[in-house]
Amino acid sequence: MATRFGWSPLEVRINEMTKTSKTIGAIPFVALLLAWLIPGSGHVYIGRVRRGIIIFIAIGGAFWAGVGMGGVLTVDYHHERWWFIADMFTGVHGIVSGLRQQRVYQDLAKEAADEGLAVPGVLPPDPVIQKKLAEKGLFPQTATASVARVYAGVAGLLNLMCIFDAFVLTMMGQAREPRPSREQAP
């Protein structure tokens, strides 16, 4: 159904949301980027400071509890790619963990190349990786590692929900804490 200027109702709604986000002085994509980079900071940016702090502690706590349980290979690009994608939604937490696991694989590739088991600069085949990881006491496919990945991955998915929330709230111009309705007011 076309409306004024030939816009669809969805286009009209998006236009209204963009106008409202301008009036509260918050830019939706900045909220989105901040919410991804540091969990909770998107909510702090739009004026919901206490919520932002709770989100930061809860998501950071769950993520690092997972990494604490499962070790450096909890975030594992080579063996658990779907969980890796979920981990990356935690922003800086996921990036730091991703760089740490990358370092482990780089060291492992260097060792394998020195021993003649792989071509220099190329990741060795999976059996060699598993053997080398086992020598370091790292086992990516254990029950504890699975639980750890669930913790880190769920933290990422929860932050995805928070990113979406911060973005939509900014678009709708609902920054700051909501006012209590008449029946909720003390």
Binding site: I54, A58, A65, A143, Y151, C162
Partner: protein
């Protein structure tokens, strides 16, 4: 060279007894309920009660699901 304990903790996996792993669902439920209710609740001073209620629903659902799967397993074996 001395390795800082925090580095070892976040590098090496922790060995957990197999049957203790089921209890790790509780902190995860707390985190899920806390984050969900933090963004959903209208009044932040009621957050604790809402988190507790939400956790209750989640645990009841998980127990019901577990019981249903256990009964299904009994039926098929």
């Amino acid at each position: 060279m001395t390795v800082p304990m925090a580095w070892t903790l976040f590098y090496d996996p922790v060995v957990l007894p197999y049957y203790s792993q089921v209890w790790l669902i509780l902190p995860l439920c707390v985190v899920v309920a806390t984050v969900y209710k933090t963004i959903r609740t209208k009044r932040l001073n009621r957050l604790f009660l809402e988190v507790v209620a939400s956790m209750g629903y989640m645990l009841a659902g998980l127990v019901a699901l577990g019981a249903a799967l256990w009964l299904l397993r009994l039926y098929w074996s």
